[in-house]
C-alpha cells in the first residue's frame, strides 16, 4: 500500500553483447532507465552510437508503412465491429507472442506488394477520371453528327471548332460579319459557353482567327476522324475496360485484409523494437563497454540478477543499492489494493509523489468516495451506473486502464446510491421516499454537514503533514506547523460556535485559551526561517494571516451541498415536464417517456461530471494543499503499450 520500493543499479557490460542485453531487458519489462547523456562525464566518453541512429530511422519508416497498410486495408476488415468487438476486446499477448504472431507473415514483402497494387489502382482510377472528364467536355459536340474528318481544313479552306464565352458571343458574331469569306455556325450552347463551327478562306484565315481570339475564343481539336458520338462510345468502352482492371486489382487487395491481425501484431511488435532502439540512446556505449543506469522495483532484484547472469555469460559488473529518498530521479510506481488503485489516476493527474513522500491515494480515496456520492446523490442514478458498470466489467474485455476507470465509477455509484437514500431522491422526486435530509427544506443542516465533512478532510490532511514531518524526524515542524494550527483553528471554531450557541463558560474559556496559545505559537514560530528577529516576527504574523485561508477552505465545502441540490432539482424539473406531458393523456405519454429517458440520462452525465471535477478540486486544492507536494517521475517500463492488442495484466 504505497510507493513501490526501488533499487538503483549501474550496469557495465561488453558492447558486443548489447543487442542481446537490450532484448533481454525489454522482455524483463520492469526496468526504468536514467538518461546518462545528462551526466557530465558523458561528453568525455568517445561514443559509439551511429549504428543505432540509422536503425531507428529504418524502424520509424517501417512503422509508417505499417500504419499506411492498416489505413488502406481497414475498410475491408471483416472482423466484428462495435459492441461485439468491445465484448471480445483486444487479444492478450506477451511480447514474445506478439513477435511470433508478427513473424507468421512477411509484412515487409506484403507492404511492397500492397504498395504496387495500390499505385496501380490509383493510376487506373486517375485514367478513368481523365476519360470521364473528356467525355463530359465533348458532350456539347455530340450534335455534330458528321465524321470529323470531313471538317478538316484544306488548301483553300480553314475549318475549325471552338468555344466562345456566352457573354462575348453576340459581339463576336457581329465582328465576324465583316469578313466576306468567313462564316460560322452555332453548334450548341451549354452553360457559360457557346460552341461554334468556323469556316474561313485561307486568304483571311489569319485575320479571322485573330479577331476570334479577341472574344475569348478557344479552339477544340479532335484527334480522330470519326463522329463525336463514336469517340464518346470508344471512351466509354475504355472506361469499362479500366474499371474491370481496377476490379482485378481490388480483388488482389481485399484478401490482404485477412492478414490485418498479423500486420497489427507486427506494428505493436515493431513499435516495441523502436522503443528499444530509441531508449538505448540513453545508455553510454564506447567501442568496448556499455554503461547503463536504471531503477528496478526492489522485489525484482533476484530476477534481475538471474537475468543478467543468464544473458551476459561473458561477464559484467553490477552495482546495486537502495534508491535514496534524496535522489529526485527515482521513478514512482504506486501499488495499492483494488479499491484504492481505482483512484490512482486522480493522483497521477495531479502529480505523483516523490520518493520521500507518502502515496496520498489511500488517504484521499475514502473522502473522494463519500464526496462524490454526496454531489451526485440519487438512488436510481446510482443503481443505473452500478448495473451499467458491472455489466461492462463482466462482459467487455477492456484495456487495463479503461477497466480501472470503469471500476472507479462502479465504486462511486455505490456512494451515489447511499447518499440518494439519505436525500430521499429517486430520479429526483419520482417516488416520494422518507429522507434524512429533505432537500426542499433542510438547506442549513446540509450546509453544516458539508462543512463538517470539510473540517474532517482538512484536519486529516494537516495531520498527514504532521505524520510526514515526524517520519522524517522533524518534530519541530510537527509541533509548529501542525499542532499549533490544530490548536488555533479548532480552538477558534469551538470558541466561536460555543459563544454563539451559549455552551458552558468553561468550554468557551478553555477553547479560547487553546486558540490563543496556538496563535501565539504560530506568530512566534511561523517565521523561524527568516534571518533577523524583526523578519521572524513579521513572517510569523504573516503566517497567522493564513488563517483566513481556512475560512475560504471551509466555505469551499459548501459545494458538497450545492451540487447535491443542483442535480436533484434538475431531476425534479424533468419530472415536472414529464408529469405535464403525461397529464395530457396517451398522446403526451410517449413524448413524456422520451423526455424522461433523455433528460435523466443527461442529468446523470452532468451530475457525475460535476461531481468528478469538484471532488477532484477539493482533493487537489483543499486536501493536497495541506500536506502534499509531489513531482515524482512516473515509472516507465521498458515496453510500449500495444495499440491493437494488450499485455496480460501484471505482466
Amino acid at each position: 500500500m504505497a510507493i513501490v520500493q526501488m533499487k538503483r543499479f549501474e550496469l557495465f557490460s561488453f558492447s558486443q553483447s548489447a543487442q542481446k542485453l537490450h532484448r533481454a531487458l525489454q522482455l524483463f519489462r520492469d526496468v526504468h532507465f536514467y538518461d546518462l547523456r545528462r551526466e557530465e562525464q558523458a561528453e568525455e566518453i568517445p561514443l559509439h552510437q551511429a549504428l543505432d541512429i540509422s536503425a531507428l530511422e529504418e524502424k520509424e519508416s517501417l512503422l509508417g508503412n505499417l500504419r499506411w497498410m492498416h489505413r488502406v486495408l481497414e475498410p475491408y476488415d471483416t472482423r466484428p465491429k462495435g459492441l461485439k468487438a468491445m465484448k471480445e476486446g483486444l487479444d492478450v499477448l506477451t511480447l514474445p507472442e506478439l513477435e511470433a504472431k508478427a513473424a507468421s507473415v512477411d509484412y515487409k514483402a506484403d507492404f511492397k506488394r500492397l504498395n504496387t497494387l495500390y499505385r496501380k489502382k490509383e493510376d487506373l482510377e486517375s485514367r478513368i477520371h481523365t476519360l470521364e472528364e473528356t467525355i463530359r467536355e465533348r458532350r456539347p459536340w455530340e450534335v455534330l453528327d458528321v465524321p470529323l474528318k470531313t471538317l478538316s481544313s484544306g488548301n483553300m479552306v480553314d475549318m475549325f471548332l471552338g468555344t466562345v464565352p456566352k457573354k462575348l458571343s453576340p459581339a463576336m458574331e457581329e465582328a465576324v460579319e465583316e469578313f466576306a469569306l468567313s462564316s460560322l455556325e452555332r453548334v450548341n450552347e451549354v452553360g457559360q459557353s457557346d460552341y461554334y463551327l468556323f469556316i474561313s478562306h485561307r486568304s483571311e484565315a489569319e485575320a479571322f482567327r485573330d479577331t476570334l481570339r479577341r472574344y475569348g475564343f478557344s479552339e477544340v481539336v479532335f484527334s480522330k476522324g470519326t463522329t463525336v458520338s463514336e469517340l464518346q462510345k470508344e471512351a466509354g468502352a475504355e472506361i469499362e475496360k479500366l474499371r474491370t482492371e481496377v476490379e482485378e486489382v481490388q480483388k488482389q487487395i481485399v484478401p490482404m485484409a485477412e492478414n490485418l491481425p498479423y500486420y497489427e501484431a507486427a506494428y505493436d511488435y515493431e513499435s516495441n523494437l523502436q522503443l528499444k532502439i530509441d531508449t538505448a540512446k540513453q545508455f553510454l556505449r564506447t567501442e568496448k563497454v556499455e554503461w547503463i543506469r536504471g531503477y528496478i522495483p526492489a522485489e525484482k532484484e533476484t530476477d534481475f540478477r538471474k537475468l543478467l547472469d543468464e544473458t551476459l555469460s561473458e561477464g559484467y559488473h553490477l552495482e546495486m543499492e537502495e534508491a535514496s529518498v534524496e535522489d529526485p530521479q527515482v521513478p514512482i510506481a504506486l501499488k495499492n489494493n483494488k479499491f484504492v488503485d481505482s483512484f490512482a489516476s486522480i493522483t497521477a493527474m495531479y502529480t505523483l509523489p516523490t520518493y520521500g513522500e507518502i502515496d496520498p491515494t489511500p488517504f484521499f480515496a475514502p473522502f473522494y468516495w463519500v464526496f462524490f456520492g454526496m454531489m451526485a446523490a440519487d438512488i436510481a442514478y446510482g443503481l443505473i451506473v452500478l448495473v451499467g458498470t458491472l455489466l461492462v466489467l463482466k462482459f467487455a474485455n477492456l484495456k487495463p486502464a479503461m477497466r480501472k476507470f470503469v471500476r472507479f465509477f462502479c465504486y462511486l455509484s455505490v456512494s451515489m446510491t447511499i447518499w440518494g437514500a439519505f436525500y430521499g431522491s429517486f430520479f429526483g422526486d419520482l417516488i416520494p421516499l422518507p429522507a434524512v435530509f429533505d432537500t426542499q427544506k433542510d438547506f442549513i443542516p446540509m450546509l453544516i454537514m458539508s462543512i463538517a465533512f470539510g473540517a474532517v478532510h482538512l484536519f486529516f490532511g494537516l495531520g498527514l503533514s504532521g505524520y510526514m514531518a515526524l517520519k522524517q524526524g522533524d518534530w519541530q515542524s510537527a509541533v509548529y506547523d501542525v499542532l499549533f494550527w490544530y490548536m488555533a483553528v479548532i480552538g477558534a471554531c469551538v470558541f466561536g460556535i460555543g459563544t454563539m450557541m451559549g455552551l458552558s463558560p468553561m468550554i468557551v474559556s478553555v477553547t479560547k485559551w487553546i486558540m490563543i496559545v496556538g496563535m501565539v505559537g504560530i506568530v512566534l514560530t511561523g517565521g523561524r526561517e527568516a534571518q533577523s528577529i524583526g523578519g521572524k516576527l513579521a513572517m510569523g504574523v504573516y503566517s497567522l494571516y493564513n488563517i483566513t485561508g481556512y475560512v475560504g477552505d471551509f466555505v469551499s465545502y459548501s459545494r458538497l451541498m450545492a451540487l447535491g441540490l443542483a442535480g436533484g432539482f434538475i431531476g425534479l424539473a424533468v419530472n415536472l415536464i414529464v408529469r405535464m406531458l403525461a397529464g395530457a393523456g396517451i398522446i403526451g405519454l410517449i413524448p413524456g417517456i422520451v423526455v424522461f429517458v433523455v433528460f435523466h440520462l443527461f442529468n446523470i452525465f452532468l451530475s457525475m461530471l460535476s461531481a468528478y471535477v469538484h471532488t477532484s478540486r477539493l482533493t487537489y486544492v483543499e486536501f493536497f494543499g495541506k500536506f502534499y507536494e509531489g513531482g515524482g517521475i512516473p515509472f516507465r517500463p521498458f515496453v510500449k503499450e500495444p495499440k491493437y492488442s494488450q499485455f496480460p495484466e501484471n505482466y
Partner: protein, 157 residues
C-alpha cells in the same frame, strides 16, 4: 381600472412571471452564445480529426448547463405563481430569480471561452483533454452557486 389599481391587483403575478422569464431568458441567452461559439471551435477540430467528435461534444456542451439551471428556476417559480399573489411576494420572487439570470448569462459566456481553450488541448494534446474539461467546469461552480441561491430563496417564499 387605473394602472395603479391594476398593478396593485396583479403586480404580484406579473413580477413573479417576469422573474421566471428573466431566469430562462438570460441564462438561456448565455448558454446559446456559449454553446454556439464553443461549437464553432469544435467544428474546426472535426475537419482534421473526425474521431474526436465525442470528446469535443463534452466541451461544447459544458456552457449549455446554465440554460438548464435558468429553466429549472423558471419552472419552480411558475409552480408557485397564483393570480392573486400579493405585490411584495411577487417582487421577492422576481429578485430571487436574479442570481441565476445574471450569473447564468455571464458564466456561460466565460465558460465557453475556457471550453474553447480546452478544445485546443484536445486538438493538440488529446491525452490531457480532461484537464481542459476541469478548467471549464470550474467556471460552472458560480452558476451552480447562483442556481442554488435562487432555488433556496424561491423555496422559502
Amino acid at each position: 381600472m387605473t394602472l395603479t389599481e391594476f398593478f396593485i391587483q396583479y403586480g404580484g403575478v406579473v413580477l413573479g412571471g417576469l422573474g421566471a422569464s428573466l431566469a430562462v431568458l438570460m441564462a438561456g441567452i448565455g448558454s446559446a452564445i456559449g454553446v454556439g461559439i464553443a461549437g464553432q471551435a469544435a467544428a474546426g477540430i472535426i475537419i482534421e480529426e473526425p474521431e474526436k467528435f465525442g470528446k469535443s461534444l463534452v466541451l461544447q456542451l459544458l456552457p449549455g448547463t446554465q440554460g438548464l439551471y435558468g429553466f429549472a428556476i423558471g419552472l419552480v417559480v411558475m409552480l408557485g405563481l397564483t393570480p392573486d399573489m400579493p405585490l411584495q411576494k411577487g417582487l421577492y420572487i422576481f429578485v430571487s430569480a436574479l442570481p441565476i439570470a445574471f450569473v447564468g448569462l455571464f458564466s456561460a459566456i466565460e465558460q465557453a471561452k475556457v471550453s474553447i481553450a480546452g478544445l485546443n488541448i484536445l486538438a493538440k494534446n488529446e491525452e490531457h483533454q480532461t484537464k481542459g474539461i476541469i478548467y471549464a467546469v470550474m467556471v460552472e461552480t458560480y452558476a451552480i452557486l447562483a442556481f442554488v441561491m435562487s432555488l433556496i430563496l424561491i423555496l422559502r417564499a
